[in-house]
Structure formats: structure tokens, C-alpha cells
């Protein structure tokens, strides 16, 4: 019913407007030299000035600047414009700016037509200035023709449920949950592992201060558990997401721990009696854990989990458990949540050098990754903090470090992981401090130490006697008798080939997306960048937003980050989300499908086209009806409609055809 009301006002205003003369103003932006350096903007403005309906044209150095926008507003007033065409950069970044600009002058914001002559013209035809200018003229002409057919629309307001879902209980997700919880909003924190804490829980010490990682993370984990507004859903995964900003329906699967989490106290008596030992994943496969275990001593929640894959069902644990918490038949359970916003802090994994045998990893015992080194270094690790080499458990004297493994390499990932230089320096330093007799050589491409205290850490390591060799190993071999690692490397600063022998070689593996990232990307409809990690709405100005309203990104899932950066992003997400949670409403685009009931024959072809179930058939009237709140405005149903009863507002057939017909001008068409 609401729909017909809106429709009638739309038709009314459209009628009024169509009788009105279309008065178009065209504003061509030079974007400094970005456009002006290639496209002859003056020629474009002169050309379009002669087109029917164009009342005024203007060329600005920066149309988005204060003076550029003032120029638009002044010309709207002077020339009584009712359509504004801005030929500039991308509507993906600047459309909201100019919509707001014309709206201030009382024009409906949908009377703006945005033409992209930078990203789609000047930047990609840098050496073909004349052709670029001709193309810009065509693009602006298309925009002008479309603008004349634009109709006013109203953006709609949707209510926002003031609850948040945070996916990922690493340090970024924990921070987001804590900030939101402290602001008084209900938060569900979903973590796929049995405990929150993420990768940071596995680090030994963290640069540049060399704090004990779990000592600073542990209290934060407890704080999350204590926060009355936060519900931790550990060992759980997001399975379904439906809905839109303010109103997401999410299905969470709680994987079976095969024990009652409310009965378990984490006493670990079950682990003591369990006869099955498997490699301990938390320690990167060093040492063993039992088939029933608590993931690590500081785990939150401190509860056991039974790894059914390795369980032999001897039932020793069930006998040992004083509280009778164990249930071998337990099935996964599900929770349906309704949340207003979603923060994805889904984390990363470190590059796995095993399949390619980078630098002999997987072939030679004494080549290990930095994460493995980190666990060996840790007092709670498999060796109680003693660095030993895997082949003979002897303490190594000569330790080599190879940087950029899985980073800055055309064969694996071209990007810099950003954290490896620093953690390698830290690792070398920690071992040097522990055992001064050790000898360390870091083989690097470049040493990158941005941010406070990082360069100082590098200097400290140099002063301690850690050697830095600029070069990448070209050959890594194992001495079959000693199991020592022989490295052939070009010292590119000295200009000579060096043959070095190490007792242990440590690979600084980079940051890569983990396997679960595709699932969350598809569930939340996010974009992925070329590096396989998730993409933000704008790399500079909207670093934690996504193109989906109400969905935010924190932590290394959107690019390699160190801990302070990830924590800041967690807080940033909480702050961005609060705008919606506090206002309890969100503004959504006015672009939807619209039915003309006079033309609709009720054939129902459109119904299965809509994946959002936004079209309902009025059985009595035999007319399709679009629920505006559910319609996302893709226009797929419109294309399917055989009678033309369905139209997509702002992308009507006539509006698109105006562009199609005017793109390649023909003399005889013009005549």
C-alpha cells in the first residue's frame, strides 16, 4: 500500500517535471592534472555547451573542492538548473559529495548524473590525448541525455537493531567487541577455534617492546569474557547471513565439543587420562596434545574440547570427568541471531612453505618457520623456552634467518607482509639475549622498520651483534652427517657470494589469507583484493568500511597488519558501527524496482528472479508487488519482465537507452 502511495507521488512529480523544461548544468573537473593533463576539458565543455538542454558549462580545477561545489550551487541558482552533470572521477567515491551539494540547493539528489572521465578515460589513455578528449565528449553527452530523464527519488530509512556480531576472536575482533560492549551495546563474538585470542595468543613476545604476548593478551581475553554485554560463541561458525543493514539474520553453528560446556570446568583431568597423543597444533605441531584437551592454559573459555577424529572412544575421559560433562553423541547446535551490524575480523594465517619446499622446508629437519621458532622460544612451549633444533634437540649456535618467505616474491605473493622484518629482528634479539654465545645472520631484501620504536629495535639488534646480510639465499642444502644447513647467498652490498653454514635456519613466513576467508566473503558479499584478502570500501578514506552497509573489516583479514594497527582497526570498527547502533536507523538507497500495476499481467516471471523474496504476488488482484524494504535494487527482475511493467528506478529502460543511443553519434541520427 505504501508502495502505491510512493508511486503516485513519484508519477505526479515526474509529470510535473516532464512538462518542465530540462535545464542542465555541466561541470567538468580537471582534477588538477589528473584529467586536465590529458583531456582538453575546455574543448569538452565547449562541445557540450551546444547540446540541447545544456544551459551552462563550467570547468574547475577541482570540482569537489569548496570553490568547485560553490560554483555548482551558484550556477544552479543563476541558471535555475534542474539537472546537474558532473564529469570528474568515479561515482564510487564522489557521488555522495555532489548529491549532498545539489540537495543543499533544494534539488533532489537523484538529479545528479556522474560521468567518469578520469578512471575510465584520462588515466587509461594517458598517451592518446586527442582520442581521450573525444571519448570524454561522448561520455559527457551520454550523461547529459540520461540526466534529462532522471526522476526524483527518496532515500528510505530503515530501523537498526542495536546488537552487533563480531566474527573472529583475535585481538582485532576482541577490541571491537570490548569497545561496543563498553558503550552498552549487545555483542556476539563468534570464534571458530575453541578459545578466543587468535594468532596473538601463540606469539612468544611482541615487538618493539618485547612484552610477553599472552601476558598482555590474557587479561584482555578475560575482560571480554567478563563483559556483561558480550556473549562469546567459541568453537562456532557463521553459516548463513541474510538481510541488510540494521537487520541481518545470521545462523551460527556451534560445533560439538562432545562435552557440556556449562558442566566442564577446564580442570583437564580428562586430558590426563586420555591415551591418545596427536601433534599439538597450538605449538605448530611440536610436541603433542591429547584427543581431549584444553587448547592452551590461558584459553577463554577455559573448557575442554574432544577431537572426535582422533578419539578411540575408550571412555577413559568420561570416567575421569567428575561432573559427567562428556557426551560422545553430542551434535552441533545452531543459534539464530538478528543483528544490526557485522564486524568481520577473520584474521590470517602464515604462509606455508611446505608444498614448495621453500629454502628446504619440509626436506631438511633444521629448517623451521618463524611461528615454530616462536613456540620454541615460549616458556609454555614444547621445550620450555629452549631453542633446540629438530634433528638432534641440540641448542643451535649459528642461526640463520631468511626474510620475505612467501612475500615480495613473484612465485608466491608479491606484496610485503609488513611484520616479518620486525619479528625476525625480535626473534634474533631474544635468542641473543638468552644465549649470548649464539651467532645470528638475518638475510634480507630490505629491512623495513616504520612506526615508533621499530628502527630503535633494529639498532638494538645490530648493537647486540646480530648480523644483517642483504641477499636472498639461492641454494639451501643439508649436510647429511651433521644435518647442518649450508646456504649459498649473494651479499649484494659487498658484491660477493658467501657460503654459510647454520645449525638452524628460520624462515620469516608472510601473512596470507586463511582457508575460511572465501566462505565469509561469500556470506557477507564482500570483495576480495588481488592478494586474496578482503577489500575495504576505500583504501584511504574508508579503511574499515565495506561496500556493504553495516559490515566492517578489522585486522589482518584486509591486509597484513601488526598488533597496534589491528587493535586500532577493531576500535575504528566499533566507532563506525556505533553511528548506526546509536542512531538506530540507517539511510538506504532509493533505487528499487517499481511495478506499474496497470501494465502488470501477474504472470509471475519476476518472482523467482529475486533472491531476496522482495516480490510478492497479490493473488486477488493478480499483480506483482515489490516490498521496498527488501528490494536491493539490482534490476534483475526488471530485465525478466515481459510486459515492461517493472522498472528499476534511477536505471529505467529509457534512462539506460538514452545512453546507449547517444554513445556513438551518427550524423543521420543527429539529423
Amino acid at each position: 500500500m505504501n508502495d502505491t502511495e510512493t508511486k503516485s507521488t513519484e508519477t505526479k512529480s515526474a509529470d510535473v517535471k516532464s512538462s518542465d523544461e530540462k535545464r542542465v548544468g555541466v561541470f567538468v573537473c580537471e582534477c588538477g592534472v589528473n584529467i586536465g593533463g590529458v583531456v582538453n576539458t575546455k574543448a569538452v565543455a565547449d562541445y557540450v555547451a551546444a547540446l540541447p538542454g545544456v544551459k551552462v558549462t563550467s570547468v574547475n580545477k577541482f570540482t569537489c573542492s569548496d570553490s568547485g561545489q560553490a560554483d555548482i550551487q551558484q550556477k544552479i541558482k543563476e541558471h535555475n538548473l534542474n539537472r546537474v552533470v558532473v564529469a570528474a572521477c568515479s561515482p564510487k567515491t564522489h557521488e555522495p559529495t555532489f548529491r549532498a551539494c545539489i540537495e543543499e540547493m533544494g534539488l533532489n539528489q537523484y538529479f545528479l548524473e556522474f560521468v567518469n572521465i578520469r578512471d575510465h578515460c584520462s588515466w587509461i589513455h594517458m598517451w592518446e590525448k586527442e582520442k581521450a578528449t573525444e571519448k570524454a565528449k561522448d561520455l559527457v553527452r551520454m550523461g547529459i541525455e540520461r540526466s534529462k530523464l532522471l526522476e526524483p527519488l527518496e532515500a528510505s530509512e530503515v530501523p537498526v537493531n542495536d546488537t552487533a556480531l563480531v566474527v573472529g576472536g583475535g585481538v582485532a575482533g576482541m577490541q571491537a567487541a570490548l569497545d561496543l560492549g563498553d558503550m552498552g551495546f549487545k555483542v556476539y563474538l563468534v570464534e571458530k577455534e575453541p578459545s578466543i585470542g587468535g594468532r596473538m595468543a601463540r606469539f612468544d613476545k611482541v615487538f618493539p617492546t618485547n612484552d610477553c604476548s599472552i601476558c598482555i593478551l590474557g587479561p584482555k581475553m578475560v575482560e571480554v569474557a567478563r563483559n556483561k554485554n558480550i556473549t562469546i560463541m567459541s568453537y562456532s561458525e557463521v553459516k548463513e547471513v541474510e538481510g541488510f543493514v540494521g537487520n541481518f539474520n545470521v545462523k551460527i553453528e556451534h560445533k560439538s565439543r562432545y562435552l557440556d560446556i556449562n558442566m566442564c570446568t577446564g580442570c583437564a583431568k580428562c586430558s590426563e587420562v586420555c591415551p591418545v597423543e596427536v601433534p599439538y597444533d597450538f605449538n605448530e605441531g611440536f610436541g603433542t596434545r591429547k584427543a581431549i584437551y584444553v587448547s592452551f592454559p590461558q584459553a577463554v573459555p577455559l573448557r575442554a574440547v574432544l577431537d572426535m577424529e582422533n578419539c578411540i572412544k575408550c571412555k577413559a575421559c568420561a570416567k575421569a570427568c567428575e561432573r559427567g560433562a562428556i557426551n560422545y553423541e553430542m551434535q552441533p547446535t545452531y543459534t539464530d541471531l538478528n543483528v544490526g551490524v557485522i564486524i568481520a575480523a577473520v584474521g590470517f594465517k602464515t604462509y606455508d612453505p611446505e608444498p614448495r619446499h621453500d629454502f628446504g622446508y619440509g626436506l631438511y629437519d633444521n629448517v623451521i618457520t618463524a611461528m615454530e621458532f616462536e613456540r620454541l622460544l615460549n616458556a609454555a612451549g614444547p621445550t620450555g623456552g629452549h631453542i633446540v633444533r629438530p634433528s638432534d634437540c641440540k641448542e643451535p649456535i649459528r642461526v640463520g634467518f631468511v626474510n620475505c618467505v612467501g612475500s615480495r616474491d613473484k612465485n608466491t605473493n608479491i606484496y610485503c607482509s609488513g611484520v616479518c622484518c620486525m619479528y625476525t629482528i625480535k626473534n634474533a634479539q631474544l635468542l641473543k639475549e638468552k644465549r649470548p654465545e649464539t651467532d645470528h645472520t638475518i638475510m634480507y631484501i630490505d629491512i623495513r622498520t616504520p612506526f615508533r620504536g621499530y628502527e630503535e629495535t633494529y639498532n638494538r639488534a645490530r648493537n647486540l651483534g646480530v648480523k644483517f646480510l642483504r641477499g636472498r639465499p639461492v641454494e639451501v642444502k643439508e649436510d647429511p652427517t651433521t644435518k647442518n644447513i649450508c646456504v649459498r647467498v649473494e651479499d649484494t652490498l659487498a658484491g660477493e657470494i658467501r657460503n654459510l653454514e647454520f645449525d638452524l635456519l628460520v624462515l620469516a613466513t608472510g601473512v596470507v589469507p586463511h582457508e575460511g576467508i572465501n566462505q565469509i566473503q561469500q556470506l557477507l558479499k564482500l570483495s576480495k583484493a588481488a592478494d586474496g584478502l578482503l577489500m575495504e570500501a576505500h583504501p584511504k578514506l574508508r579503511p574499515v568500511d565495506t561496500t556493504i552497509d553495516g559490515v566492517y573489516l578489522a585486522g589482518a583479514a584486509s591486509g597484513p597488519k601488526d598488533i597496534p594497527y589491528a587493535v586500532s582497526q577493531g576500535s575504528a570498527c566499533a566507532s563506525r558501527a556505533t553511528i548506526l547502533l546509536k542512531n538506530r536507523k540507517a539511510i538506504t538507497e532509493g533505487i528499487t524496482a517499481v511495478v506499474d500495476p496497470d501494465v502488470c499481467v501477474g504472470c509471475g516471471v519476476c518472482l523467482p528472479m529475486c533472491p531476496f523474496q522482495a516480490i510478492k504476488m497479490d493473488e486477488k488482484e493478480k499483480k506483482a508487488n515489490v516490498m521496498k524494504a527488501l528490494c536491493k535494487g539490482c534490476g534483475t527482475c526488471v530485465t525478466a519482465c515481459p510486459t515492461g511493467a517493472l522498472e528499476q528506478s534511477h536505471f529505467k529502460n529509457s534512462q539506460i537507452l538514452a545512453q546507449v543511443k547517444n554513445v556513438f553519434k551518427f550524423p543521420e541520427v543527429a539529423a
Binding site: F612, G635, I656, L657, Q659, V660, V663, F664, F666
Partner: protein, 139 residues
């Protein structure tokens, strides 16, 4: 004079339009024969738009959308695929089917967008002028 084809492209707002933006930001150069029309979803591209384009001077039409399973609207691109394939079949009878192409380009595939445009432009160059256009000019 070498033949410079007119190419019209429909890009979905979420993936391929952003991919084209990224090609620009990355300064990946490609031939200036192409003109882009933004639609919200590749599923919005009507066969009629393609026919109108071929009638109105386009030598080739390139429809681009999100990769399958990545569609912002879940499966608009699947509908696009069916429609474009059917349109291609219809165009086959007119000998115009090679002038229509459907490609998936994600928001991060700026290089791929440029490559697709280069490749399609070359192909249309080889095909020569759209015969429908010739008739029109001779009229």
C-alpha cells in the same frame, strides 16, 4: 586508415565498474574505443540494450559482472549469463554473435579489466565494422 571500432560496455556497479576504476587508478592503459555504462548488476542488462547498441553504431558490446558466487545480489550474474547466452544464440543467426561478449571481472582485477578490453577490441578490429551499421550509413 585503420578501422577503429566502437565498443560499448555494461559494467556492474560492485565488481566490474570498480575493476575498471582500479584499472584507471593503476594506470593500466587500454584502447580508447570503449564507452562504459554503469548498471547496478549485470542481471539488469536487457537483450534490448544490446540490440539497440548494435543498431546504434556499436561494433561490439562487452557485458561485465562479478564472478559467479561473488554477485552482490547473490545470483544476478547467473541470470545475466543465461540471457547473454540466449542473446548470443539469437545474434548467431544474424552473424553478429561474436560482437557480444560476457566477462567476469572482480573489483580487484584492474589488470584483467584492461586485458579483457584490449583483447575484445582486437577481436572486433579483426571482425571489422558491424554490418548493421553499414546498412544504416548507406541508407
Amino acid at each position: 586508415m585503420t578501422f577503429e571500432p566502437n565498443i560499448l560496455s555494461f559494467c556492474c556497479n560492485w565488481c566490474s565498474y570498480a575493476g575498471a576504476d582500479l584499472a584507471g587508478v593503476s594506470r593500466f592503459q587500454y584502447p580508447p574505443n570503449i564507452r562504459i555504462i554503469r548498471v547496478m548488476c549485470s542481471g539488469r542488462v536487457e537483450p534490448a540494450f544490446i540490440l539497440e547498441a548494435l543498431k546504434n553504431g556499436a561494433d561490439g558490446v562487452l557485458v561485465t559482472g562479478c564472478h559467479i558466487r561473488d554477485c552482490h545480489y547473490i545470483e544476478g550474474n547467473k541470470n545475466a549469463e543465461i540471457r547473454i547466452n540466449n542473446t548470443k544464440k539469437a545474434l548467431e543467426k544474424l552473424g553478429l554473435d561474436k560482437r557480444l561478449r560476457l566477462e567476469w571481472v572482480s573489483a580487484s582485477e584492474g589488470a584483467r579489466f584492461a586485458e579483457v578490453v584490449r583483447d575484445f577490441t582486437e577481436e572486433i578490429k579483426k571482425l571489422g565494422q558491424n554490418p548493421v551499421k553499414e546498412v544504416k550509413i548507406n541508407e
